[in-house]
């Protein structure tokens, strides 16, 4: 009995625990889940300090978000009369509803942060050079899709936080010249944030944006394979000498029958030394499982300890004081609030300068950078290569500036958008009772 159980176990799970190198290679070919991995990966790709496994962490978060999100769909109603109550029901009346919602929220916040950090890593290691430029562009679209997913999800609880954050966010979008108001009209499904807005944001959030992100994610992974693995493999490539290998013995056919001889030997610097490689199953799969467990444990711990924010029900007649955009957009709100320029009678709206021009310029730089980068290819796969010091510092400076603006927007802005230091007590706003 025990032997039969073991045999059955072996039959089901052999691919994940291959007993030999041959089984490992076969696992990649024969198992559906493993077919997108290469049979072997370089040990340098496995390095923690190179990639920090941020891309994997982002993918793990995407998985958690999708699973928790689909479950939440059974309990949430996208109607302005029912949305808020359905969130309250999740919080108090659905078994494990509180945890479900919290884990979804913290995974979402984490994903925006991790995706940005992943992009920063790719930049600092010049992993967007050459053929990887296409994957960088796909990554930029993935970043935008992540931000949009977070933005559309933000509205769904239909509380004051949601309503006014989206009011602020879509107003910033409307500042774009010529097309701004139309974009806002399309996003809102009208002139005001209302039922149409909620429904559009809901459909975008549960269907179109996840579909886009999963399809692009698959393409993103495919490109990694096509580009020859992680860019860390590029560094030191020149240092690897092309050495003639011993010609492999084989048979060949001639007019006189079978003769011993040599076969075609491929000599290429792309070929990696076998001694540097490990089988994807189980080494890579084990590592991914570890990253997944770390990420899941983190989101679950946060979900156990901290409740996702929920304020009073959305009230179009009462604006909370202050009204803030979500944290990943609050830096834009800071810019919008402080970049209004008045020259005599002429006013340049801060919404245009800070809300549209600055992000568009930053986005354009992101998109164009692989094609503007003039550093040598030897920098690829190296952290903070000296030759790239200036561009790395620029990226770092811009990132820190954005982080600083986010910090100010989230922690230092109080009622009427006045600045308060962390320890300064905020004025208590008047209440009814």
């Amino acid at each position: 009995m025990n032997r039969r159980l073991q045999a059955w176990w072996r039959k089901g799970l052999w691919a994940w625990n291959p007993a030999s190198e041959r089984e490992s290679a076969e696992a990649i070919v024969r198992n559906l889940w493993l077919h997108w991995f290469p049979a072997k990966v370089s040990q340098r790709s496995m390095s923690w300090s190179y990639s920090l496994w941020l891309g994997t962490a982002a993918a793990c978060l995407l998985t958690i978000l999708t699973v928790t999100g689909v479950m939440l769909m059974f309990f949430y109603t996208p109607s302005i009369e029912r949305a808020y109550g359905s969130i309250k029901d999740l919080q108090y009346a659905v078994s494990f509803g509180r945890l479900l919602r919290n884990q979804h929220r913290w995974a979402a916040e984490g994903m925006v942060a991790i995706v940005f950090l992943h992009m920063a890593r790719v930049f600092f290691t010049a992993a967007y050079r050459g053929p990887r430029a296409l994957n960088w562009l796909i990554g930029v679209i993935l970043l935008l899709a992540t931000l949009l997913l977070s933005f559309t999800g933000y509205l769904l609880p239909w509380d004051q936080l949601a309503f006014w954050a989206i009011t602020v966010g879509t107003s910033i979008a409307s500042q774009a010249p010529i097309v701004g108001p139309t974009i806002r009209y399309l996003l809102l499904g009208g002139h005001l944030v209302g039922q149409q807005t909620l429904l559009r944001f809901y459909v975008l959030h549960v269907f179109f944006l996840p579909a886009l992100i999963w399809i692009l994610f698959a393409y993103h992974m495919w490109r990694v394979r096509k580009d020859g693995g992680l860019a860390v493999l590029e560094s030191g490539r020149a240092a690897r000498l092309m050495q003639p290998k011993a010609m492999p013995a084989s048979k060949s056919y001639s007019l006189f029958g079978l003769t011993p001889g040599t076969s075609v030997a491929v000599m290429s610097s792309m070929g990696l030394e076998e001694s540097e490689q490990v089988p994807a199953s189980p080494t890579l799969t084990r590592r991914i499982a570890l990253v997944f467990l770390v990420v899941f444990n983190l989101t679950l711990a946060l979900a156990l300890l901290f409740d996702a924010p929920l304020q009073t029900i959305a009230n179009p007649a009462v604006t909370p004081n202050p009204a803030k955009a979500p944290w990943y957009f609050v830096w834009l709100q800071e810019l919008v609030a402080s970049t209004t320029v008045r020259l005599g009678d002429f006013t340049l709206s801060g919404g245009l300068l800070g809300g549209v021009l600055v992000p568009v310029i930053l986005l354009a730089l992101l998109v164009a950078w692989p094609f503007l980068d003039r550093s040598s290819r030897a920098c690829e796969g190296l952290w903070f290569a000296k030759e790239r010091a200036r561009q790395n510092l620029t990226f770092l400076a811009i990132s820190l500036a954005i982080a600083a603006l986010i910090f100010i927007g989230v922690f230092l802005r109080g009622p009427y958008w006045h600045l308060y230091w962390l320890t300064t007590p905020r004025p208590t706003m008047p209440r009814v009772l």
Partner: protein
């Protein structure tokens, strides 16, 4: 296994093991947190109380779980009764049963305001959706309808019974007098005798030289001038001060100082705060008395 593979296996194994145990622990914590609700021990105690007090059929058929009073006409979902289980046992269970199991103390009132028609929060305020104590009684920023507690009432030198009359008037607004609403009755009488309608418009009747008061309870407190107000910046205090001496609050006001006594001023404030944009289905509005002249 090749040495390189072994190196990875060795390094990852420890972390994988630790994360697996942590995973198990966190999931166990989640299960524990879900089971360890505030209401479960109260319900189990209530079942015992029912049996002890001779309510054997009720004790037998009692099922542990979240209870709610759902009133679709009012949009009320009150889960208070998940803990406040004795609410409907007035006269059956002892009145001094410890909270949260205490029966409702006013059976005569409940006779006219049955639980299945009114629930709890239309009169008491608070967050009916909640199944946790703090969230239900004192939800802070996440709920804008505070529960009218004895402590809140005491902070305004009132009893809960007086403070609650503010909410009674949500439905009883059009009545001149209502039994059990002494403070509001007094305030409505004062509104007539002090002739507030000479300057103020309410419900389409009154003067235009002062702000309209029809929905005074909905005023946004952030828009008020508190610079001359001592004490907490609340709409209640602002209104209250108006009735004691309006000129002390707003030096340029044309409103005379009525010099009302504190109980009178409190009654008037309750009246002001009860005037809100609220719509109830017609069956909830008490019929005016036969000789009511608008």
């Amino acid at each position: 296994m090749e040495p390189l593979e072994q190196k990875f296996e060795r390094r990852d194994f420890g972390w994988l093991f630790a994360m697996s145990i942590l995973f198990f622990g966190l999931v166990a914590a989640g299960l524990w947190q879900e089971y360890k609700t505030a209401w479960r021990p109260y319900q189990e105690r209530f079942r015992l109380v029912l049996a002890q007090q001779g309510q054997l059929r009720q004790a037998r058929s009692f099922s542990v779980g979240i209870q709610q009073i759902w009133i679709p006409d009012l949009g009320v979902v009150d889960r208070c009764v998940t803990c406040h289980l004795g609410y409907d046992y007035m006269g059956v269970l002892p009145a001094d049963l410890a909270q949260p199991l205490t029966p409702h103390p006013l059976p005569a009132l409940i006779h006219h305001h049955g639980f299945n028609r009114f629930g709890c929060t239309p009169c008491h305020g608070g967050q009916g959706w909640a199944t946790e104590t703090t969230a239900a009684h004192d939800p802070g920023d996440s709920w804008n309808d505070p529960m009218l507690t004895p402590r809140l009432a005491a902070s305004y030198q009132m009893t809960v019974g007086e403070l609650l009359q503010m909410r009674c008037n949500f439905c009883h607004r059009q009545e001149q007098t209502t039994p059990g609403m002494d403070a509001i009755n007094l305030a409505k009488q004062l509104y007539q005798t002090k002739k507030c309608a000479v300057c103020h418009m309410v419900d389409g009747r009154g003067g235009h030289s002062a702000p309209e008061l029809t929905y005074e309870g909905d005023v946004n407190p952030e828009l008020l001038d508190f610079s001359h107000l001592k004490g907490p910046h609340t709409l209640f205090n602002w209104e209250y001060q108006h009735f004691i001496a309006a000129s002390a609050l707003l030096p340029t006001t044309a409103m005379p100082d009525y010099g009302m006594t504190p109980p009178q001023a409190r009654a008037m404030t309750l009246l002001m705060l009860s005037w809100k944009h609220l719509t109830y289905p017609p069956q909830y509005i008490p019929a005016p008395p036969p000789n009511h002249s608008p």
